[in-house]
């Protein structure tokens, strides 16, 4: 499996350079605005896109066909993509922690929590998106991805326009939920792996 991961990392070399430029760009952009949550959200979002780019390359190269002629199992192909996803998520998490420290030391505790919440959101996003990409491929999957990302946002905007408000949720409850979020996201990710494996096992080339 290390061979498969190495292949993705080598494939993504160019992408990584762009990613680093993006991070620097956003750091400068957000430096004055004092919106750490937004910045870390952007960084994690890019990290989620990277393994999807890798899947896009594979689809274009028809790499899966080649890989399956080698001593590589279908499960390993699926797992390697999750590993690549987690590698980038965690690297990004470490970057956001570091930035949190730089931003405002007095807020460091809050910033850690924000980073954790954003990391969890990234993991849940991967967990939701990967099975779709394994099932429909990257081309079609992107359309689904847009729907998945925009329906909740649209629903929220719509709801707020109609005058719904979040009430009854105390700030302390929200923070308690955020503390549980990392554990929830790991569980969701585990379920996602199982779903992807069962999708990929039936795939024909």
């Amino acid at each position: 499996m290390t061979g498969l991961i190495l292949k993705d990392l080598l494939n993504l070399k160019k992408q990584l350079k762009i990613y680093i430029i993006y991070i620097i760009f956003y750091c400068i952009l957000f430096y004055s605005s004092d919106n750490f949550g937004m910045l870390s959200g952007m960084i994690i979002m890019f990290a989620v896109m990277i393994p999807i780019t890798a899947m896009g390359y594979d689809e274009k190269d028809k790499w899966d066909i080649y890989a399956l002629t080698m001593p590589v199992s279908r499960n390993e192909l699926v797992l390697s993509k999750y590993v690549v996803g987690l590698i980038f998520l965690f690297s990004s998490f470490i970057i956001t922690l570091f930035l949190g420290l730089l931003y405002d030391r007095s807020m460091f505790k809050e910033n850690i929590l924000i980073s954790l919440v954003v990391l969890s959101a990234g993991m849940i996003l991967i967990a939701v998106l990967f099975p779709i990409f394994f099932k429909y491929g990257v081309e079609k999957g992107r359309t689904f991805m847009m729907l998945i990302l925009f329906i909740p946002i649209a629903a929220l905007i719509f709801a707020s326009k109609l005058g719904f408000k979040l009430h009854g949720v105390e700030e302390s409850e929200l923070i308690a939920f955020f503390h549980w979020l990392p554990i929830i996201s790991v569980a969701v990710l585990a379920v996602s792996v199982l779903i992807s494996i069962s999708i990929y096992r039936r795939k024909e080339f």
Partner: protein, 282 residues
């Protein structure tokens, strides 16, 4: 006899195509050519062998192991070259080597670089910039560099110029010098197969028409040339296909069974295939 590859009653059904009870036996130490027109089922058969697609029925044994249960281990010992390279286009040969080293237990770096030099493949260029021939040669180099016992090639020589094809066929001949090595090669360039193969398997519309030793085929079949009246006297049992033109009748026949004084020319594999497909007597 020990078989490198054995397919028994392998069946796969699609909406408008059926691979129908395919039986193929490739003895160890031999090269088998797998021929048939486009869409006859060659690629489907090869994909079934590697389990890229699931079969509906039958049994496939590669190097003595079932291709469902023991596939991962078996794949250490087979080299597969598909009709295109399918290697990551943005990588170069050195990076491919680094990846393969981590995938094959038996990966032989020295052998790989030796083959690259032999094929004059650039190490630093990315694969996207290679010509089609070079891409195929790289695939073949990769397939040969982990000490395989069986090579499975799907149209690996199609779309290449005659010089490159010749080079590649030479490599297969060299590979087969080791008596434990075997090759299963599909192609519609029949002249290539005629040069190197011991066995020819002919598939037509998802069915195996024959799977025989090449020499036997060439000995058994002949092209009969005669007039229409003469043709009426020929036993229909021995006629495998015929066509009429303004000079008379041509027929593919079992030449050893013909009685009487007729003009019978040698039939090559291509003749046999064309007569079977187009001029088949129903």
């Amino acid at each position: 006899m020990e078989y490198a590859l054995k397919l028994e009653n392998v069946t796969k059904e699609y909406k408008n195509f059926k691979l129908d009870h395919v039986n193929i036996c490739l003895p160890r130490g031999t090269i088998m050519g797998f021929v048939g027109e486009n869409g006859a089922g060659k690629s489907t058969t090869i994909k079934l062998i590697i389990d890229l697609i699931g079969r509906d029925g039958g049994k496939i044994t590669i190097l003595g192991k079932d291709n469902k249960s023991g596939l991962k281990d078996v794949k250490e010992n087979i080299g597969v070259v598909m009709d295109e390279s399918y290697l990551p286009e943005s990588l170069n040969a050195v990076e491919i080597n680094r990846i393969m080293k981590r995938i094959y237990r038996t990966w032989d770096e020295g052998c790989f670089y030796e083959l690259l030099d032999k094929f004059s493949i650039s190490r630093s260029k990315i694969i996207k910039e290679y010509s089609r021939g070079t891409k195929m040669k790289l695939s073949i180099a990769a397939a040969l560099s982990h000490d395989p016992e069986l090579l499975i090639l799907d149209e690996a020589t199609s779309g290449l110029d005659p010089i490159v094809r010749e080079e590649i066929l030479d490599i297969f001949m060299e590979f087969i010098q080791d008596e434990s090595h075997s090759v299963f090669i599909s192609s519609h360039i029949i002249s290539d197969l005629e040069k190197v193969c011991d066995y020819i398997t002919f598939i037509h519309k998802g069915k195996i028409i024959f799977s025989e030793a090449k020499d036997g085929l060439l000995d058994n079949y002949g092209i009969l040339k005669c007039s229409e009246d003469e043709f009426k006297n020929i036993d229909p049992e021995i006629v495998k296909g015929m066509r009429k033109n303004k000079f008379g009748t041509e027929a593919l026949i079992l030449k050893n069974k013909i009685r009487g004084d007729y003009v019978v020319d040698k039939a090559d594999i291509e003749d046999i295939m064309v007569f079977y497909i187009k001029e088949r007597i129903q």
